[in-house]
């Protein structure tokens, strides 16, 4: 009988294992959900791969095949985070699902961490495919160390763009989401050297380029392959860290304000 099964339970102290379990399950199911949502997984993985097939392999054996590998990897992590976090949270907020999760004992941090880790995992898949294509179809030679460092940079890059996705989720109404994100993301990726080195860009664009977080991420990734503009990488790391704090701060202010109003 159900009566016996749902008997009053004794409270048990919440252990580290309990939290670890929540994080693991939340991340596992978030990744599975993203993967099954084809509108997301096909476009986020498909676009960098398709563009590399078009522009990378056609420049076989010249610098572009090698250049586009890290730059499209950056594009992959930025789009995974902006669409995965920005759209994902905005939708779940609008549909009431986030509210049910907030009413549950799930720690808020687990929700955000699971989404961030899942997006970063998508970015790693993109890096793996691009490196494989670069080596096989693009005629690129690279060391294992270079590939490893590229993966690490892309992983680190998921943090600032998760923060940006979070801010977008709080600001943009969900049905306007895809349009707004594309409007931000496409010009930004073009102006940051994801498609071609920034020295090829028109002069007026190059003035605003250093203000873009994507530019700094691209420079760090390109540095591994010797295509960065001259200068210390520390500046770019600092710029990304500052950008992250700015986005998180703005998101925090907006979130607490909307909570106070609710």
């Amino acid at each position: 009988m159900a009566t016996q099964a749902i008997a009053v339970s004794a409270p048990r102290p919440l252990t580290l294992g309990y939290y670890a379990r929540i994080f693991r399950k939340e991340t596992q199911y978030e990744f599975v959900r993203m993967l099954r949502t084809r509108a997301f997984s096909l476009s986020v993985i498909g676009f960098p791969v398709m563009f590399y097939l078009l522009f990378g392999t056609s420049n076989r054996h010249n610098m572009f095949a090698r250049y586009l590998m890290p730059s499209y990897s950056c594009m992959g992590v930025v789009s995974a985070c902006l669409f995965g976090i920005g759209m994902g949270i905005a939708l779940e907020r609008a549909q009431g699902w986030l509210e049910l999760k907030q009413a549950s004992p799930m720690p808020r941090f687990a929700y955000l961490a699971a989404k961030t880790i899942s997006c970063a995992a998508f970015a790693l898949v993109i890096v793996a495919i691009l490196v494989t294509m670069g080596v096989t179809l693009g005629g690129v030679t690279l060391t294992v160390g270079e590939a490893f460092r590229l993966a690490l940079v892309v992983l680190a890059g998921s943090i600032p763009f998760t923060a940006m996705g979070l801010l977008i989720a709080l600001l943009v109404p969900p049905n306007a989401g895809p349009g707004v994100i594309n409007l931000i993301y496409l010009p930004m990726s073009f102006a940051s050297g994801f498609w071609m080195p920034v020295t090829y860009l028109p002069h007026w664009l190059r003035i605003i380029t250093p203000a873009l977080p994507t530019y700094h991420l691209a420079q760090i990734a390109l540095h591994i392959f010797g295509y960065a503009q001259s200068g210390s990488m520390l500046v770019h790391w600092e710029a990304l860290a500052g950008f992250t704090l700015l986005m998180l701060g703005a998101a925090w202010i907006i979130f607490t304000r909307s909570e106070a109003k609710a």
């Binding site: 749902i6 048990r12 919440l14 699902w97 049910l100 907030q102 004992p105």
Partner: protein
């Protein structure tokens, strides 16, 4: 009571025994405004351990606002909200609470089994997955994606999420919306089983019948205020009118003069009579008008009940 009997068997595991009189959750003189509209106006309510309370009212009465306050999802403008003696925003209190909310969409690309598995992990002491499947009757579609389910199956899954953590206090916000009669009755059985196991349940509904079938106590709410409160029989006594609809040539003024008639209204070609003792009225009008046809007698709709409860002449509105 049977609930107490179950409780005494299990209290060995828990140093503080629950009793019927212990307050589990409390809203005290709570006011909540959204811009110009007042959702709750000096609203007070108590949930005692082991009871099923129905918060009954029309759409926009403030039922969902009360639930959201008790879940710590929103904060009150004035007044205090306490759950298990704590602020409901306290994370610890939430491990003992389950909730079923009105949700437009749930992530559709996860299977029912996976949703249950995930929510079970949030609670330190959850029910076994098989048990949740059995209680919420999810066995037939546990491997389907949430997006493929029918309305009733979705509601049952959400019910499964509410009980999977083995909570002591369960909030069910309009749980049977979109369900067919069979699923609705099945869910009623499960709510009774929760209550029999000593759980406290707060149920919001706009079906008088549902509140009557399930609740130990009904709180009728309208425009953010408590209209009246009591056991189902007490509430029904106050709104005990029946609705008689028929097509007749009798004069409405005559109908209004019949014993126990409280209201007579014209509805297209028919008249609608509200009466305390419909049998006496029907007997009378059948004799008086041989052409009378299209006769229907039904329970007063909740809207009628609210009109009766909230009208100025009603003694219940003190």
């Amino acid at each position: 009571m049977s609930a107490t009997a179950v409780l005494t068997q299990t209290t060995t595991a828990w140093p503080t025994p629950l009793s019927q009189t212990r307050t589990v959750a409390k809203l005290h003189s709570v006011t909540k405004r959204y811009g110009q509209t007042t959702a709750l106006d000096k609203f007070s309510m108590e949930l005692r351990a082991g009871e099923v309370v129905a918060l009954l009212g029309p759409n926009g009465a403030g039922k969902t606002t009360a639930v959201r306050l008790l879940l710590g999802l929103i904060s009150s403008d004035f007044g205090s909200v306490r759950v298990f003696g704590r602020d409901p925003r306290d994370a610890d209190a939430r491990t003992r609470i389950g909730a079923m909310l009105q949700i437009t969409r749930v992530p559709e690309m996860l299977r029912v089994r996976e949703h249950i598995d995930l929510f079970r992990s949030y609670y330190p002491n959850p029910l076994p997955a098989a048990e949740v499947m059995r209680i919420a009757k999810l066995d037939g579609f546990a491997n389907q994606m949430f997006g493929q389910l029918s309305g009733g199956q979705k509601q049952r899954t959400l019910f499964g999420l509410a009980v999977c953590g083995n909570p002591d206090l369960v909030f069910l916000d309009e749980p049977t919306v979109g369900m067919d009669i069979e699923s609705r009755r099945a869910l009623w059985d499960e709510i009774r089983a929760l209550s029999a196991a000593g759980k406290t349940v707060l149920l919001t509904t706009h079906y008088l019948e549902e509140a009557d079938m399930l609740a130990h106590r009904i709180v009728v709410i309208n425009k953010g205020r408590v209209v009246c409160e009591g056991t189902p029989s007490e509430i029904k006594h106050r709104v005990s009118g029946r609705r008689i609809r028929c097509i007749t040539q009798l004069d409405p003024e005559f109908l209004a003069s019949l014993p126990s008639v409280t209201d007579v209204q014209q509805d297209r070609e028919a008249v609608v009579i509200l009466a305390e003792h419909p049998e006496r009225v029907v007997r009378e009008i059948l004799v008086r008008d041989e052409t009378l046809h299209g006769l229907e007698v039904s329970a007063a709709a909740l809207e009628d009940a609210f009109l009766a409860l909230t009208s100025d002449s009603n003694p219940a509105q003190a």
